[in-house]
């Protein structure tokens, strides 16, 4: 089992290498076309890699509907070989829908606007600025990158699940069993996981590395905005300026990088 995950890791590594050498022009032009038409030059690019000081997202819940939500979730789960396990107890999910009262349990009240009450909220890892999961992890298998993305090293994780106890957003999943038989179609560009490790949304770090925007953003057709929170000129900052947004459990001081337009 270990072997096959290592193999897929090498595949990814190989493809990234290709990206730098042989296939670079192709990927570059692909990346450029993606970037320019979605967010009009709000990314700083270094060769083919998308870079930022602090990546963030805005979910425009007004534009989410039964039509696009499933395809957004599917895009993410397909891209990352997230298994589709029926047993609720062993379920693994990176991005999923919740009602307002679950996504924002501390803001919920008795006389909630009917629209909001019935809205579906996409929830996933907030890539917190001050992430308690990173603090808790005893092996640095969960770590925060300079660009604000909270990542996981699946090969180092010992499966203590301390990070899951620490995350106040339930963003993490644990592989209670071997996930591979539950992957319908394996994406060779991303490693599959083994039993006994934790996983979660990674803001598509592997796609950013080759100049692509996150899979959910791509599938959302504008309902999700992605960009550099630290850059006052970025599109994400413009949207934040113009809209009232909320974050999940801000009082805990974790500093989520995901914002919601309600």
């Amino acid at each position: 089992m270990e072997k096959s995950s290592r193999r897929s890791f090498f595949k990814v590594a190989g493809i990234s290498l290709l990206g730098i050498s042989g296939a670079a022009p192709v990927l570059n032009s692909f990346a450029e076309s993606q970037v320019s038409h979605t967010v009009e030059g709000s990314y700083v690019k270094n060769e083919s890699t998308l870079q930022a000081k602090r990546w963030g997202m805005i979910i425009n819940t007004k534009e989410l509907s039964e039509d696009n939500v499933p395809s957004i979730i599917e895009a993410c789960h397909k891209a990352h070989n997230v298994p589709n396990i029926d047993n609720k107890k062993h379920e693994v999910k990176w991005i999923w829908e919740e009602e307002f009262k679950h996504a924002f349990p501390t803001v919920n009240h008795d006389f909630l606007n009917e629209r909001v009450e019935n809205l579906k909220f996409l929830v996933f890892c907030n890539h917190c600025n001050n992430p308690p999961c990173v603090r808790a992890c005893p092996t640095k298998a969960t770590f925060k990158r300079d660009d604000g993305i909270v990542l996981m090293d699946f090969h180092r994780c010992i499966g203590c699940r301390f990070c899951m106890a620490a995350c106040p957003y339930g963003s993490r999943s644990f592989n209670f069993e071997n996930p591979r038989p539950f992957i319908e179609e394996t994406n060779p560009l991303f490693p599959t996981r083994m039993k006994g490790v934790v996983e979660k949304c990674n803001f598509c770090a592997e796609r950013l590395a080759v100049g692509k925007i996150p899979a959910c953003v791509e599938a959302a057709n504008g309902a999700i905005v992605f960009g550099d929170l630290n850059d006052p000129e970025s599109e994400i900052r413009q949207v934040l300026k113009e809209n009232y947004t909320i974050r999940r459990k801000p009082a805990l001081g974790t500093g989520p990088s995901v914002y919601y337009i309600v």
Binding site: K101, P132, V134, A136, A165, P168, Y169, G196, L252
Partner: protein, 385 residues
Amino acid sequence: MLETAIKGSRNYWLWLAGLAAVFCLGFLVYLNQLSFGLGITGMNRDVTWGFYIAQFTFLVGVAASAVMLVLPYYLHDYKAFGRITILGEFLAVASVSMCLFFIIVDLGQPQRILNVWLHPTPGSVLFWDTIVLNGYLLLNIVIGWKILEAERSSIAPPKWVKPLIYLSIPWAVSIHTVTAFLYCGLPGRGFWLTAILAPRFLASAFASGPAFLIVLCFIVRKLTKFDPGTVQIQTLAKIVTYGLIINVFFLLCEVFVVFYSGIPEHMEHFKYLYAGHDGHGVLVPWMWTSAALALLSIFLLINPATRKNEKILPFTCVMVFVAMWIDKGLGLVSGGFVPSPLHHFNEYVPTLKEIMITFGVYALGFIILTVLFKIAVSVKEELVS
């Protein structure tokens, strides 16, 4: 001294064989867990720590309680405890070993456990917990062994043991404090987010540990020629009394703060544990049993007539032990996960396999405990005769 462990009666060997059988059974189930994953347990995405970590948390308390013998003896020169400190230290060794085994069986990838030391992470409480637990284990093995050796040859223990003994006192407090910190530093987990968690852990430890030791003392008295002593048992019983009363007081303090402030994220857990929520309430009868046992034991322990009655005392101690076990071994861990941070109520019930593995670990711990006690008591018997 090791040779004393292999010179035992038939019953001694039968007991060990029984434990070994339970251990082997548990081990076989553990192999199943190793190949399938933690999915054989009742844990789920919302309740990610279950029975194993709860036992670990409870046993850290039993281990820490050795300090209740060491401290009066060495700091206050309470001579009577000299007779039995070794029992406390060996109980600590067995309990900490079980704690470490429980951590191992709880890992999703146990073969990677060394990563904790290969990539030391000072910000992680779990890193410190492994340090203090292993340190405490080592301290108690060394101290216990050296003192017993000296006792056997009727000489004073080597000088360097003294500082280790003094070190072991704050160290005992640290193992339970650090274990409490695993829980109480987590955002969004209202049940654990309380500064009184470490003191609560210590109070319950000073009730459950000595209570268990009293039961062991009665067993030793019955089965061997060594009598741990009535005064010793009575002093321990007083320690249990205070530990238990302080523990109940702390719990009531918690209840006051949580319900008077009325903050839902803190209240929901208590309500779930003691009243249930919307048909979810597997733990309700357990929690009330624990409360009833604790109150009844307080009554029996405060009253000198019932405390001094050696027919009643062992039963009271068992009740204290069970009450504390339910509180920590069941309520504290699951109660903190239900409701989840997203306010979903997913309950946790351990599976049969999980319970068998748990018994396996306990059996291994009891093998260690039996052998160590056998050695200690044999030395004491030699001195008596």
